[in-house]
């Protein structure tokens, strides 16, 4: 196959979408009952509630001339499955995910936790994750110092 050591003058990212359903409750132990109620509103209801989350994972890397791929989808899917989908899908984020025992499982924090879990993917560079909580709110995280971030 045609060989090209690099991607040339372009940067290519691969995006893949996944879905999981989970419940959560937004409640901070550092706030009073009234403050929790005021800040989180119905998301503070005591028994929690759920969402169908959509996770978008972006990775970059050299396109392997032999396969035409940045990363084999089966390997990416398998990694996301074991690191995120299996531990999160049909679970209570507050009770079943260690990271959210002491951290409020807002979708901002969920993005950061998912990024942390996926960062070690060995076959490509994780660029960012985007988590859609509902069709009206989505959050992105690209690490502490993302390339090109003009913060």
């Amino acid at each position: 196959m045609r060989s090209s050591a690099q991607n040339g003058d372009v940067k290519i990212e691969l995006g893949r979408r996944y879905r999981f359903a989970a419940s959560h409750r937004l409640h901070s132990a550092e706030l009073s009952e009234e403050e929790n109620c005021r800040i989180y509103g119905k998301c503070n209801h005591p028994y929690g509630h759920g969402h169908n989350y959509v996770l978008e994972v972006m990775v970059s890397g050299k396109v392997d001339p032999a396969t035409g791929m940045i990363a084999n989808l089966e390997e990416l899917d398998g990694f996301v499955e074991s690191e995120v989908l299996e531990p999160f899908d049909h679970k209570s984020l507050n009770s079943d995910v260690e990271a959210f025992r002491a951290t409020v499982p807002t979708t901002e924090n969920l993005c950061i936790e998912i990024f942390r879990r996926l960062k070690p993917f060995p076959k490509a560079k994780l660029e960012r994750v985007r988590v859609q909580e509902t069709s009206n709110n989505g959050f992105e995280y690209a690490g502490e110092n993302p390339d090109g971030f003009e913060g």
Partner: protein
């Protein structure tokens, strides 16, 4: 700077096969995408051009011009075609989403004279897509 995006759809067939691999390797690496007679997708292409709106027309570039460029460079070349055999720019490459996006970038970049090509996003399915940027432009920019 303003980013302007235009979307088009095309349908095409392809297969993944590397002649340097054994039949077993091809099946292992490419799975059902190695089916010898190919298969097809409805591709969605989003082309984003960056620029300043012209003070007279209010446009980054004339959408008619962009539409014509996409028609000529992408639709006529790829729509209802077998990508492996009918698109010379992809000859010798596996027509993955990554490689098709790069070829589309290379076709469009020199043709866009007003504004600058910023991103090519190609969806193979709603859950799988590739983004192509100018190297160094930083795809990770948060917006």
């Amino acid at each position: 700077m303003v980013l302007l995006t235009r979307k088009i759809e095309f349908a095409a067939s392809h297969l993944y096969h590397n002649p340097d691999f054994s039949p077993e390797e091809n099946r292992r690496v490419f799975g059902k995408c190695n089916n010898p007679h190919g298969h097809g997708h409805n591709y969605t292409l989003e082309v984003t051009v960056a620029g300043e709106p012209d003070p007279v027309t209010g446009m980054v570039l004339d959408l008619k011009d962009l539409k014509e460029i996409l028609e000529r460079e992408v639709m006529q070349r790829m729509d209802h075609r077998f990508l492996n055999y009918e698109v010379p720019e992809l000859a010798g490459q596996i027509p993955t989403c990554e490689n098709i996006a790069r070829v589309i970038w290379q076709l469009l970049d020199p043709k866009i004279k007003q504004g600058k090509l910023h991103r090519v996003r190609l969806y193979e399915t709603p859950d799988l897509f590739a983004d192509c940027y100018r190297n160094g432009a930083g795809g990770a920019k948060l917006s």
